[in-house]
């Protein structure tokens, strides 16, 4: 089932087209990553999904209902973690979560239960009565997440939830995202950090100039560029390896010896590095260094758009 369906979505600010005829489906249980440089249209798209902006053209459906006509339904089922920390500094963590959860219609014991649950989930259970102004960046980020999940939304939108925090907090948050996903939440995730997106997203869309240029799993995206990888093995200059036996290994397309480096081009989806090395060891070759060159999402982005992600 599609949790989110976007059809021909367009947003113009004057002459400027921020989102350009975008169509997209997000299925239940996905962690969907939006990858794009600043001003690519990620935030604008997210803001339209969460009803912060009106679309100039096109439709958005959340759980099968159009948000233009069923705005409240969509809002009830979406939890949003804004890019900027969006909490009241003069209210305790508990009051923050409780207030926002209250806006979603939770009352009484249920509200209390869910608030505590959300705080425990982000590891701030013992900080319920503390004021966020004394919190570290990471703790604020976590509270920012707690405020978005207490009402148990089906779709959680996280806009750069890990900006400017320490690695430990980041790991905590990434784990939380996975846990939320396991609990049945569909997640939209945007980040500048390619590694994060690569690590947790089950599907990724590359966005540039308001358009989705490509989308798919990270393997599919990488395959856009090439479906092969290069393995460069530096060996002792005096050794003479049997190139032919290397060519017999499954997946290897070409292999050649240049100076003291064996250059192997192999099919990308087959993990055969072990077998190559085993073969070389069997032949008594001394290996100096091994380098595997496979494209990462950064190269995919660079190749497709001609620009770096952080331009």
């Amino acid at each position: 089932m599609n949790v989110l369906e976007i059809r021909n979505l367009t947003k113009k600010f004057g002459d400027f087209i921020a989102v350009d005829n975008m169509s997209l489906n997000i299925r239940e249980g996905e962690i969907f990553g939006f990858l794009g440089s600043n001003g690519a249209g990620k935030s604008t798209t997210i803001n339209m999904i969460s009803s912060l902006l009106r679309s100039t053209k096109g439709d958005i459906e959340v759980l099968g209902r159009n948000i233009a006509t069923n705005g409240k339904f969509a809002k009830m089922n979406i939890g949003i973690v804004p890019q900027d920390i969006s909490i009241y500094e003069n209210m305790t963590s508990y009051e923050n979560v409780s207030f926002f959860a209250g806006l979603y219609g939770l009352r009484g014991n249920l509200l209390k239960e869910r608030t505590e649950e959300a705080l425990d989930f982000v590891g701030l259970g013992d900080k319920a009565k503390s004021f966020p102004k004394n919190f570290s960046g990471g703790m604020k980020r976590r509270l920012n997440i707690a405020c978005a999940i207490a009402h148990r939304p089906k779709l959680i939108i996280m806009d750069e939830p890990t900006v400017g925090i320490d690695p430990q907090s980041r790991n905590y948050i990434l784990n939380s995202v996975r846990k939320l996903n396991e609990m049945g939440c569909t997640i939209i995730y945007t980040s500048h950090y390619m590694e994060e997106v690569e690590e947790i997203c089950t599907r990724i869309a590359i966005v540039d100039h308001g358009k989705i240029i490509a989308d798919g799993t990270k393997e599919q995206l990488k395959a856009i560029i090439t479906d092969t990888k290069n393995i460069w093995i530096e060996i002792k200059a005096t050794d003479s390896p049997s190139i032919d036996s290397l060519k017999q290994i499954q997946g290897v397309i070409t292999a050649q010896l240049e100076d003291n480096t064996i250059k192997i081009n192999s099919k990308g989806e087959i993990n055969n590095l072990n077998r190559v090395i085993q073969q070389l060891i069997k032949d008594g070759i001394e290996i100096r260094s091994v380098e595997e060159q496979a494209p990462n999402l950064e190269t995919v982005f660079l190749t497709l758009t001609g620009r770096n992600l952080r331009d």
């Binding site: 969460s50 009241y88 207030f99 926002f100 806006l103």
Partner: protein, 374 residues
């Protein structure tokens, strides 16, 4: 339900803003204390009357008049007024001008000429009153002599015997505001007007804290949010106002009259007006400028509305400006309510406050509807 939720949150977070709260409470109370005690004699009902010296000169050649004058002067000398005949060559007017005498009177055959000192205004006023009384009675006697000489004597005697030249009829001293009473009211209305500041922050703070995003994403309509915020802000400011009233009533013994309910209603209307004004301005004027606009407005309105010193009625442009200050409306309505029991006069003030508040709320609501974000 969400309205209540938002209102409660608004109240809760306002109580956390210690500094703002302290300012809203301590500022008027301290000012009340300072102004109420420092300026107490400006408002005091009793004035100290200095020594009264009356310089006179008789140019008329009428024995009757001279005689009457003498008995009159004896009479008032007994009351502690110095009557000094002007010597030849003395210019009475100049002497009064110099402040040596309280007043100078010339008795001529066709009337009296009175020159009062502007420096000793109270004294010269008293003297003027006495002399007017004297002139009236003398005229009565003089005409009596002409028409019925027999009765003239009795009239003349009455002039001499009656030493009550001045009848004291004072207003009920309790019915005029003392300094503390005045400042208790004006400071309370002033702080009520300061609610405009918190009103201007209502949505701006959500924008600067980025919480507007969350509020917009939540299933709560802009209307509910708006109503909740206005209600919350009005309540918290009204709470401040009530505390100030209570402090001034019980600690400073300020007179709040017998219509506390209505006074409170006037103040509620004023707070509502201030909050809506702040809110409206924060929507009409972008960014930090709105804060300055509100600041300037409240300061000017406080000043011309009589927060720091009482202002009189005036028909000049200044008068028009004064009458534009919501503070003045509230002050006048409350004063009239307390000191003249003018219950009906309160309603137009409440009405006008609520009407303007409604106008500003409407403007803000319209702008808010039109905007995509908060």
């Amino acid at each position: 339900m969400n309205i209540l939720n938002v209102a409660l949150k608004e109240i809760k977070s306002a109580t956390r803003e210690r500094r703002t709260l302290l300012f809203m409470l301590a500022f008027p109370i301290v000012l009340m204390l300072i102004l109420g005690t420092a300026l107490s004699n400006v408002f005091s009902g009793s004035a100290i009357v200095g020594e009264m010296q009356l310089l006179y000169k008789i140019t008329a050649n009428e024995p009757q008049l001279t005689q009457s004058w003498q008995s009159f002067s004896q009479e008032i000398e007994r009351q502690g007024i110095k009557i000094i005949p002007a010597e030849a060559g003395m210019n009475g007017q100049d002497l009064v001008k110099d402040g040596q005498y309280s007043a100078y009177v010339e008795l001529e055959s066709d009337g009296m000429k009175f020159y009062g000192s502007s420096k000793q205004s109270i004294e010269s006023n008293v003297l003027q009153g006495m002399l007017t009384a004297f002139a009236d009675r003398y005229n009565l006697a003089a005409s009596a002599i002409k028409s019925a000489p027999s009765e003239a004597k009795a009239v003349m005697e009455s002039i001499q015997s009656n030493d009550e030249f001045v009848n004291e009829t004072s207003l009920d001293p309790d019915k005029t505001p003392g300094a503390m009473d005045y400042y208790a009211i004006s400071m309370t209305t002033m702080i009520a007007l300061y609610s405009a500041l918190s009103g201007s922050f209502l949505f701006r703070s959500e924008r600067t804290r980025q919480t507007a995003i969350r509020l917009m994403a939540a299933p709560i309509s802009k209307g509910e949010l708006f109503a909740g915020k206005v209600i919350g802000c009005t309540i918290i400011n009204l709470l401040c106002v009530s505390i100030i009233i209570l402090v001034s009533k019980f600690a400073f013994h300020a007179n709040w009259g017998d219509h506390m309910g209505l006074v409170f209603l006037i103040l509620t209307a004023e707070v509502l007006l201030a909050v809506s004004l702040g809110l409206g301005v924060s929507y009409l004027v972008q960014g930090e400028k709105s804060r300055s606009v509100i600041m300037i407005f409240t300061q000017i309105a406080s000043f011309v509305g009589g927060a720091y010193f009482p202002v009189g009625d005036s028909d000049s442009i200044m008068g028009i400006v004064m009458n534009l200050s919501p503070l003045r409306w509230a002050n006048e309505a409350i004063m009239n309510l307390i000191y003249s029991d003018d219950v009906l006069g309160a309603w137009p003030t409440i009405g006008i406050n609520v009407a303007i508040a409604a106008a500003f709320l409407l403007i803000s609501a319209l702008i808010m509807r039109k905007r995509e974000a908060l």
